[in-house]
């Protein structure tokens, strides 16, 4: 199993803040993203800008995920003001 979380506009697009996905063996973040794309085609437009974190550390689409990991997808951050 793999825990997947979404934030901000990506959460709105997916319609939920987290979900579990089947994962039996090591794979790449990209593969996970492609599975999401089949369910949520609109997510494609985020491919070139989205940020990825695996177990709360920044990663990218080529990073490896293994069963039990937590993968987070979110848009570029916009904290603060000024």
């Amino acid at each position: 199993m793999l825990k997947v979380r979404f934030f901000a506009s990506l959460k709105d697009l997916v319609g939920e803040s987290e979900m579990e996905m089947q994962l039996e063996q090591e794979t790449s973040v990209r593969k996970i993203f492609q599975q999401l794309e089949t369910r949520f085609p609109e997510i494609k437009k985020y491919e070139s800008i989205l940020l990825v974190a695996v177990n709360m550390e920044y990663a990218d689409l080529d990073s490896t995920v293994t069963p039990g990991d937590e993968v987070c997808f979110f848009p570029p951050v916009s904290g603060g003001t000024g």
Binding site: A8, S78, G79, G80, T81, G82
Partner: protein, 137 residues
């Protein structure tokens, strides 16, 4: 002091947390909610956070700053949830013996926060709302 809070930011308390007898300078940055954005009137803001990771990233910023400059203290507090015009969304305070270091580290902290800390801003207008997503906006 590294915090994500949901209530009003207490600037004075944060400044006091970095004040030391060895410090000659305290630089602060206060990010406040503007009443307009890209020529559009803003009614209020809402910030969403990925809390555990945001705290980790804020700690990283402080650790890097403390290593790069001879600082006596650095505090970063970010507020999340709904904020009204004029309220502080983020407050950073840095103390050092000499002002140059405090200024540089303070600016480094806010610039870095805006690209690495997982917090997102949603602007609310009279006629709708928009997620602000982008680097350093």
């Amino acid at each position: 002091m590294i915090r994500i809070v949901e209530s009003k930011i207490d600037r004075e308390k944060i400044v006091q947390s970095v004040s030391t007898p060895e410090s000659g300078a305290i630089a602060t940055f206060d990010g406040t909610v503007r009443n307009h954005s890209r020529e559009k009137p803003v009614t209020h803001l809402h910030y969403e956070v990925f809390p555990e990771m945001a705290l980790k990233e804020l700690e990283k910023i402080r650790a890097e700053a403390m290593q790069r400059w001879p600082l006596n203290g650095m505090a970063i507090v970010h507020r999340v949830g709904r904020m009204e015009i004029g309220e502080s969304s983020v407050f950073i305070a840095v103390s050092s013996a000499h002002r140059k270091d405090a200024f540089e580290a303070c600016r480094f902290a806010i610039d870095t926060l805006k690209t690495t800390v997982p917090i997102w801003k949603k602007e609310h207008y009279q006629d709708g709302e928009v997620w602000i997503e982008g680097y350093g906006q």
